[in-house]
Amino acid sequence: MIFRSEASRGYTLSAPATAYVGFLVAAPLVILIAYSFWTQTYVTLDKTPTLKNYSEAFADPLVRHLMLRSIWIAGAVTVVTVALAYPIAYFIAMKVRKKTIWLLLITIPFWSSYLLRVFAWKLILGFNGVMNSALLMLGLIDEPLDFLLYNEFAVVLTLAHAWAPFAILPIYVSLQKIDPSLLEAATDLGNSPLQRFMRVTLPLTIPGIIAACLIIFIPTVGDYVTPALVGGSDGKMIANLIQVQFGAANNWPLGATLSLIAMLSVGFVAIVFVITATRLGRRIR
């Protein structure tokens, strides 16, 4: 009796949130799928079901190229961000006493507008930008470096900066959960600090690393602002193409198709990654 009323209260109270999010996830998906089987010429929408968009998308080398590049860039961003962030998470979890202050310090820049942070990198890396002018003024270079902006490097650097807290926090949480007695046991059994890290600490933080990777990888594949601002033509990603279909090109069915293909590709890569990482984690242990 009590359990039933508890459960029903739980359902009723959480219903607005789950219904709202559920509706806004499911309904657009259904319509997106419907759109992907329709065609559009200028403003008229032809609702005869067809696979034309899919065959067009798969045949177009540009789509394939941008999709692969998006996944490649997102992968690079994920690896760089997590590698840079792991020592910080370790530092805060293991070495610092004032943990909350450090956590706050890490998260404050994240709360500034994402658009403005990306924009700041555009100003820093530009040909006549902050970095080049500073290096020139210090006499370290004779002419501006032209490889800083408008390429994949700029995209990876900007996003490694933008996603920092997303990588640090999950790894920090998994480090916090480690039972100190396990570390002591490893030391007592004659492990060197490096061995102890490789055989105890690292395997136990694999769940945190996986979480960090997913939180970074998935949104990065669909990132629009960074490639548009600092990517140049070499750094364009799939999101930029999708935006063109919904904007200038005004071909919504193709845009919907590309969105779905992007979603499925991300999902596929993420699932493969989780399975491999979990297996790998078991092997280390």
């Binding site: 530092f91 820049p109 658009l115 969105s259």
Partner: protein
């Protein structure tokens, strides 16, 4: 211990990496030259003065403030019920429900934006501030739910039971017992969700139609080099506002955790 000093040095370098890029915006917003490069020509407040003269900017600011306020109220109200349900009650499918509510955090922005545009037009809603509100509420919900969950975590359920035992009704108990205790969490949630909406760009870019929010307005200005100093001044004000709001939110969040002791 393996040379902790290297790690400490790395940590401080990392902080520089995190903060320096963002700090260039305010630095160059005081530069009297229009090119963002060293050396700085001279110091001026002109760019800030000129902000007030721009009508489209002011309109965009009002749009953003309005959207942010409604989003804060909506997402916090919905999040309040959900957080309470998740903390206080156990029910089948609870973990799935909690996962679902967190989903907006991980869906790529472009996919949320394009699919919502298609949905809203399908439902007959023209892109406007209303559609931006609906989209931002979706994005803000995970934030409000997780903040309010931690507020309810610290809430002693026996206080409510005592109130029921004394014959006070459900709504009266909520208003007089539950609400005052979790109110710092509510304020923190409203500040955070407001900031999420205030800073959000991609969804607003797709859904705002001809009613730009502030980030959409900034986006339209970024392309023109002549407008750059303006964007810097405006951006610096926004940075400062976001950080202040978030520090305030953190203060209230702490207070909600501390109330457990009392």
């Amino acid at each position: 211990m393996k040379r902790p000093s290297t790690l400490t040095a790395y940590a401080f370098l990392y902080l520089v990496f995190l903060y320096l890029p963002v700090l260039f915006l305010p630095l160059f917003s005081f530069n009297s030259g229009t090119i963002v490069a060293f050396p700085i020509k001279g110091w001026t407040l002109d760019w800030y003065r000129k902000l007030g003269e721009q009508d489209t900017l002011i309109q965009a600011l009002w749009n953003s403030l309005g959207v942010g306020t409604v989003v804060a109220l909506l997402s916090t109200a919905i999040g309040l019920f959900a957080a309470r349900a998740f903390v206080r009650y156990r029910f089948r499918g609870q973990r799935a429900a909690e996962g679902l509510v967190m989903l907006p955090l991980v869906i790529p922005g472009i996919i949320v934006a394009s699919s919502m545009l298609v949905l809203f037009l399908f439902l007959g809603l023209k892109p406007s501030l209303l559609t931006v509100v609906l989209g931002h509420t979706f994005l803000a919900l995970p934030f409000s739910v997780s903040i309010l969950k931690s507020a309810f975590d610290d809430f002693d359920a026996s206080l409510e039971e005592a109130s029921y035992d004394l014959g006070v009704g459900v709504f009266e108990t909520f208003r007089r017992v539950t609400l005052p205790v979790v109110s710092p969490g509510i304020i923190a949630s409203m500040l955070v969700t407001f900031t999420v909406s205030f800073d959000e760009f991609v969804l607003a870019f797709f859904l705002s139609g001809n009613q730009p929010t502030l980030p959409v307005y900034i986006w339209s200005q970024i392309r023109f080099p002549a407008k750059l100093p303006n964007v810097l001044a405006l951006g610096s004000i926004l940075l400062l506002t976001s950080v202040l709001l978030l520090v305030l939110a953190e203060y209230f969040r702490r207070r909600s955790s501390a109330s457990e002791v009392r």
